[in-house]
C-alpha cells in the first residue's frame, strides 16, 4: 500500500518542490490570504512543509486552506499546494491534531453519513414543499459500508 507518507514525499521531492521560485503566485491567488493575510500565507506554509514540518503540524494554519485550488491551477512550476496541504494534514491527524470544528463535522459524517446536521423539521419542511424525505441518516447499508471503509484507525482519530 502506498502510504500518505510516500505520496507526500513524491509531491515534495527535490525535483518538484526544489523548483519553487518563491514567486508568490499561490499567495496572490489565495482567497484566505487575501482577507486574513496576517494569519494565512500559502507560500510560507509551503516552505514550512519543507523546513518546519514538526511545528507546522502542531498549529492550526494548516487547516485554513479553503480547498479552492486556485494556487494549484496557477503555480508556474506545477507544484500542487492544495494536495500538499491535504497530505500534510494526515500527519497532523495521526498525532491527534485535528481542530474541533472539523472533528465535529467528521464525527457527524461517521454517525449519520452526512456533513450537515439533521432534525425532524427538515423532513416536515421538505414534505410541505413536495420533496421526498431524507431521514436521519443515509441508508443502513451505506452507513455500514462506510464504517468498514473508514476503518478503526480513522474512527479513533476523529474521536480523539
Amino acid at each position: 500500500m502506498v502510504s500518505h507518507r510516500e505520496l507526500l514525499e513524491d509531491l515534495l521531492s527535490e525535483e518538484k518542490l526544489g523548483f519553487c521560485n518563491n514567486c508568490g503566485s499561490c499567495t496572490a491567488s489565495c482567497p484566505m490570504a487575501r482577507v486574513i493575510p496576517e494569519v494565512y500565507n500559502p507560500r510560507s506554509l509551503l516552505q514550512r512543509v519543507n523546513l518546519d514540518f514538526d511545528r507546522l503540524i502542531e498549529g492550526e494554519e494548516l487547516w485554513l486552506c479553503a480547498w479552492c485550488y486556485r494556487c494549484t491551477e496557477r503555480c508556474p512550476q506545477g507544484i500542487q499546494p492544495t494536495e500538499v496541504f491535504l497530505l500534510t494534514r494526515n500527519f497532523a491527524s495521526e498525532r491527534g491534531n485535528i481542530p474541533d470544528n472539523p472533528r465535529t463535522i467528521m464525527r457527524r459524517i461517521a454517525e449519520t453519513g452526512r456533513s450537515n446536521p439533521y432534525n425532524e423539521f427538515i423532513d416536515e419542511y421538505r414534505e410541505e414543499n413536495g420533496l421526498p424525505p431524507i431521514g436521519p441518516t443515509i441508508s443502513q447499508k451505506a452507513l455500514e459500508e462506510q464504517r468498514r471503509i473508514m476503518g478503526e484507525d480513522f474512527i479513533r482519530r476523529i474521536e480523539g
Binding site: 482567497p31 485554513l64 491535504l86 491527524s93 450537515n116 413536495g130 420533496l131 441508508s139 459500508e145 471503509i149
Partner: protein, 295 residues
C-alpha cells in the same frame, strides 16, 4: 433524453431545499430523468476526510463512483463541491495506477471495485454540455429582459482544470453564456471568479470571519456593477453569500442582493412560477427581483 443517478449531496437537501425543488422542476420539464438512489454516501470532502486519511478518504468518495458504475448511469450532482470531489477522485484513480490499486483493495472489503467507467456530471455541466444552449434557447418563453445578473462561478465546477474540466480556469464564460440564454443582462464585475470560502468557513472563528470579509468584497463588487441578483452554480455559494449578507446586516451594511442558482433563472425564463422554484424560501428576499422581471 438521458437518465442520471441523482446525487443530492448534503447541503441541498438539508439547507437549500428551494434549490433542490428548482433543479427537480426544471429537469423534469427538460425531460431529464433523475433516478433516486438510496445507497450513496457523503462525497467525503477532501478538506476534511481526506485530510485525516488520504487513501481511505479516496475510497469513501470512490464508493459512490462504484455505485454509479453498477447502475450504468452518470452521476448528477447538485453541489459544485460534490462535483469537484468526485471528479478529483476519478482523476486520481484514472491517472495513478498505484492509487487505484490501493483504493480498490480497500473497496474490496465491501465487495466494490472502481473500473474507470464512472461519469461525473453537475446540473450546470448537463445543461451546458448535454442539453446545449441551442436547445435551451428553444424553451425560453418569458425572457428575463430588464434584469442585471452577476455570474458567480464558485470553485469546484471549474478548478482545477485537470479535475473538473468544465471551463477555462482563468477566463470562464460558460455561465455567462447560459445566463445570456435566459435574456438577462450579464454583469461583468471583478469578483465574478472569486471564492465564497464556503469550504473553509467551518474551521472555527478565524475562518468564519474570513468568509464574511470575502462575502463583503464580492457583494460590493456585484453591487458596483449594478447587479439585481448574483447567479451561482453551487448551493454552498448561495448559502455563504446569503448568510454573509445577514451577518453584514448586523454590522449595519444592507445589500439585499438576492442570490439565486442558474436553474432558478432558467426556470423563470421557461415560464415557471417563483414558488415552484422555491424562490420564496430564500434567506434574502427575491420579491424586488421578481417584480423587475414581471415588469
Amino acid at each position: 433524453m438521458r437518465e442520471y443517478a441523482l446525487y443530492t449531496g448534503c447541503v441541498a437537501p438539508t439547507r437549500e431545499i428551494g434549490y433542490e425543488m428548482s433543479v427537480r422542476k426544471v429537469m423534469e420539464a427538460l425531460g431529464v430523468e433523475l433516478k433516486q438512489v438510496d445507497d450513496f454516501n457523503c462525497c467525503m470532502p477532501a478538506c476534511l476526510v481526506h485530510s485525516v486519511d488520504y487513501t481511505r478518504g479516496l475510497a469513501l468518495t470512490s464508493r459512490n463512483l462504484c455505485i454509479a458504475e453498477e447502475l450504468g448511469l452518470p452521476l448528477f450532482t447538485l453541489c459544485s463541491s460534490c462535483f469537484g470531489n468526485l471528479s478529483r477522485a476519478k482523476h486520481l484513480l484514472d491517472e495513478y495506477p498505484d492509487i487505484r490499486r490501493d483504493v480498490n483493495e480497500i473497496l474490496g472489503e465491501v465487495d466494490k471495485e472502481y473500473k474507470g467507467e464512472a461519469q461525473v456530471e453537475h446540473v450546470v455541466t448537463v445543461l451546458h454540455n448535454e442539453i446545449t444552449l441551442d436547445k435551451l434557447r428553444g424553451r425560453i418563453t418569458e425572457p428575463l429582459r430588464g434584469i442585471n445578473a452577476a455570474p458567480f462561478y464558485g470553485c469546484h465546477i471549474f478548478l482545477p482544470q485537470k479535475y473538473a474540466g468544465f471551463d477555462d480556469p482563468e477566463f470562464p464564460d460558460k455561465l455567462d453564456a447560459l445566463i445570456g440564454v435566459t435574456g438577462a443582462q450579464n454583469v461583468d464585475y471583478p469578483e465574478k471568479t472569486s471564492c465564497c470560502i464556503g469550504c473553509g468557513s467551518f474551521f472555527g472563528e478565524v475562518s468564519e470571519g474570513a468568509s464574511v470579509l470575502l462575502a463583503e468584497t464580492i457583494l460590493d463588487s456585484a453591487k458596483g456593477g449594478g447587479a439585481d441578483c448574483i447567479v451561482t452554480t453551487c448551493p454552498f455559494c448561495i448559502m455563504q453569500l446569503e448568510l454573509g449578507q445577514l451577518r453584514l446586516r448586523e454590522k449595519g451594511k444592507e445589500y439585499d442582493i438576492p442570490i439565486v442558482h442558474y436553474v432558478d433563472l432558467l426556470g423563470l425564463s421557461m415560464g415557471m412560477e417563483p414558488e415552484e422554484l422555491g424562490l420564496d424560501l430564500r434567506r434574502i428576499d427575491t420579491e424586488l427581483l421578481l417584480e423587475k422581471i414581471g415588469g
